[in-house]
Amino acid sequence: MFDVNKVDAVIEKHGAEQRALTAMLQDIQSEYNYLPREALERIAQKMNLPLIQVYQVAKFYKAFSLEPRGKHSITVCLGTACHVRGGVAIADQVGRLLGVKPGETTKDRRFSFDTVNCLGCCALGPVMVVDGQYYGKMAASKVERVLQKYMEEEVAANA
């Protein structure tokens, strides 16, 4: 649930200056896993900034999402090294299995799927990351097994 005090605390922490805007939004994103509209409005109001400026920043940077994200985040690296080693096939396979396109979240909000330009572990390419866990030297044929693990966990947790 959205809590205005949390946002106020974030503003307090960074100081109500334009330069701190990105940092504030990063904190709010990690708190809520997305940027609730109320939070942006609160920031604009408290910092005396035009709302459009806050909105622009939120829309410009890829790290921010204005929509709630999935419980698990799947990232496939499409850096050059991963690309030449077949990263696209991994991404295609993830997209096919989850039925979503990069940047989207599954309807049940279980998985968010993104591609990233480079994770900087090119030696492991192609790389896929699920919830911060790196899966290096991936192959399209291994994707299903990796995803299966998270789906099963989910089922186990529910049971």
């Binding site: 709302l51 459009i52 909105y55």
Partner: protein, 665 residues
């Protein structure tokens, strides 16, 4: 001051000036889509690129945000600059293929159609950011912004929600070069034009109602209380032609001269705002009909010059083509009588006394269906194109159109703030707005403001424009003028020639009118017919000669001229029927009664009823027994009371003959 060279030309400008500004100062045009003198440079469209040489190093760079430097050499059309600019224009056109200003700019650079396909041909935002900067720098609102990046970039309000501030602001709107601003949520691109159109409609319908009211009240009583002939008197063609025909200043028609002056100031407002027929024609019909050639507009000028030529020879025979008369005649001669006929018997009972006759109000006028024909034609033509009549045929229209070409105020479009190129084009009831450059012929423009009404940004302007509006294919040419002069002069001469001249012995004109002068003034409007309480006046068809078509004749057998009435002279706008006092009128000679003693049954009803003392007396006729009515031609004024009351069946035994047509006895 900084000195630099632009296209080999030395330029001195103040420090801090941009290359773009410096170039404009010396008249070198650099195209640009995202710069505006009110706003800070942004450098987004990249169309203003030029080649800049500094200290021997040459680069292609935008000129809008590049401050001049001493010794800088700028080439605005070097191959490198032009190629880059051309590609930028092509890229933008490919993004927004249907944005007219882009199409025009592309054409200048030889790009006929965009090089790259698009899935969204309706896209019209070129992301120049002018609106956003206007919002920040002019309106100081910071409501809209360029949001997101790459291909998703767009102008938007926060969360795409309409902002209440936009509803009252709208300062960004005139800065948008493509009309895309209309798609930003909450921004109301509604010009003030709508109010003007509303105003015009109110004026038009009000005047139409007044016109109909006046026609309805064209009665003897009405003439005393109301300015019955108001519309005719303001008719600028009537004024011009009747004065031209009679070679006299007609006091009654001075309002028509006022209309001419107004036209010279404001253009064709007569047609757009006042003309009752125009108002009716404005109500229906398609604005555009590509099957009708533009050339047809010439016809009205042809008619006008023929009119003028004929008028110079003293003939107004064609005035039945004036729109006011087209409209009044059927109302007075057909529709009004038809309505009254429902309340009274159709047949005129013979043998009533004058008094009995006068008491029988409402009168029983004759219905003349033929008078409706011109109006019906005009109304039917309107189905093919709105204001077909006004566009192609109306001689009055041609007259004010000609004047309007010189008018002080004219319509034009400020293309800099035009938001939606071509939206005004189909709105024009005269179809005179050119899609190519949004210009219009001031001669065709009715100042109706419909184009302003649909203009989303009030880019349509009505203001002083010194240049006369000629140069259209259908403009009157010298050859055409000559042809119509020949037709006009020839026609008038022919009508007045002995061959066609009327030899009708009973050609009686309303009281006070003299035949020759009358025909050079009468505009065939029919108002005298309508006002005549005795239903004595009727519009001639062919009986009085071709020149007299639809001019009024007094037909005593249907109704006599009331001795106590002078209404026709009051209502005649051009004073073809002189405005006489009752005293004068009683002495005005219409004709002379002549008795056919063979037919006379010696009832002497005529003598009894004759209102003029001593005009008709009892007397003996040599060779005949008994008392016969005897006319004293010097006293008789030809009012026709005798003829009217004569109980002889069919042709009366006493008939009024036109002056000069009295048989010698």
């Amino acid at each position: 001051m900084v000195e630099l060279t632009i296209n080999g030309q030395k330029v001195q400008v103040e420090e801090g000036t941009t290359i773009l500004e410096a170039a404009r100062k010396v008249g070198i045009e650099i195209p640009t889509l995202c710069s505006h003198p009110d706003l800070k440079p942004y450098g987004a469209c990249r169309v203003c690129v030029v080649e800049v040489n500094r200290k021997g190093r040459s680069v292609v760079s935008t000129s809008c945000d590049y401050p001049v430097e001493e010794g800088m050499e700028v080439k605005t059309d070097s191959p490198a600059a032009t190629n880059t600019r051309k590609m930028m224009i092509d890229l933008l056109l490919s993004r927004c293929p249907n944005v007219r200003p882009l199409q025009l700019l592309a054409k200048q650079y030889g790009i006929e159609k965009p090089s790259f396909p698009t899935d969204h041909p309706e896209e019209d935002c070129i992301l120049c950011g002018l609106c956003v900067r206007a919002c920040d720098e002019v309106a100081h609102k910071n409501v809209i912004g360029l949001v997101d990046r790459s291909q998703a970039r767009k102008v938007s309000t926060p969360f795409d929600q309409p902002s209440p501030e936009c509803a009252t602001c709208g300062k960004c709107i005139p800065y948008c070069p493509t009309g895309a601003i209309a798609h930003v949520p909450g921004i109301q691109v509604k010009g003030v034009g709508g109010l003007w159109v509303r105003l015009r409609q109110v004026v038009q319908l009000g005047l139409l109602a007044l016109f109909l009211y006046l026609v309805w009240n064209t009665t003897r009583q009405g003439v005393e209380a109301l300015p019955i002939n108001l519309f005719s008197r303001f008719d600028p063609l009537m004024a011009f032609v009747s004065m031209l025909g009679s070679k006299k200043l007609i006091a009654n028609m001075i309002p028509g001269l006022v209309t001419i002056v107004v036209t010279l100031l404001l253009g064709r407002v007569w047609c757009g705002w006042i003309c009752p027929l125009g108002t009716v024609l404005n109500l229906y019909g398609p604005n555009r009909n590509p099957r009708i050639p533009d050339k047809l507009r010439q016809v009205k000028y042809f008619l006008l010059f023929a009119f003028i030529a004929a008028a110079l020879l003293g003939s107004l025979a064609l005035m039945w083509l004036d729109p006011i008369t087209i409209f009044v005649r059927p109302l007075a001669g057909t529709i009004y009588p038809a309505i009254l006929q429902k309340q009274a018997p159709v047949v005129i009972p013979q043998g009533l006394t004058t008094k009995e006759r006068a008491a029988a109000v409402p009168l029983r006028p004759l219905v003349h269906p033929v008078l409706v024909i011109p109006l019906v034609i005009v109304l039917v033509l309107n189905l093919f194109a709105k204001r077909f009549w006004c566009r192609y045929l109306c001689p009055l229209g041609a007259w004010v159109a000609f004047l309007s070409k010189f008018s002080w105020i004219k319509r034009y479009v400020d293309k800099k703030i035009c938001l939606e190129w071509g939206r005004c084009v189909p709105s024009c009831p005269m179809d005179t707005i050119s899609y190519a450059d949004l210009s219009s012929d001031p001669g065709e423009c009715l100042m109706c403001l419909d184009c302003l009404g649909v203009c989303p940004a009030d880019a349509t302007k009505f203001g002083p424009q010194p240049k006369p509006g000629f140069g259209y294919r259908y403009d009157p040419s010298r050859r055409q003028m000559l042809a119509s002069l020949v037709v006009g002069v020839g026609g008038a001469a022919l009508l007045k020639s002995d061959m066609l001249k009327s030899k009708y012995p009973y050609q009686l004109r309303p009281p006070g009118a003299k035949e020759d002068e009358f025909l050079s003034r009468c505009i065939r409007c029919g108002q005298c017919v309508k006002v005549c309480p005795n239903n004595a006046l009727h519009l001639a068809l062919f009986e009085a000669g071709l020149e007299s078509i639809w001019s009024p004749l007094l037909i005593p057998r249907i109704g006599n001229c009331d001795y106590d009435c002078n209404a026709c002279g009051q209502v005649c706008p051009t004073q073809a029927i002189p405005k006489l006092s009752l005293e004068e009128k009683r002495k005005a000679k219409i004709g002379t009664a002549v008795v056919d003693f063979d037919k006379c049954i010696r009832c002497l009803l005529c003598v009894q009823k004759c209102p003029v003392k001593g005009a008709l007396v009892q007397g003996n006729v040599p060779g005949r027994k008994g008392k016969y009515p005897i006319v004293n031609p010097d006293v008789c004024i030809g009012c026709g009371t005798c003829e009217f009351v004569c109980p002889v069946k069919d042709e009366a035994a006493i008939r009024v003959h036109a002056p000069g047509a009295v048989p010698r006895t």
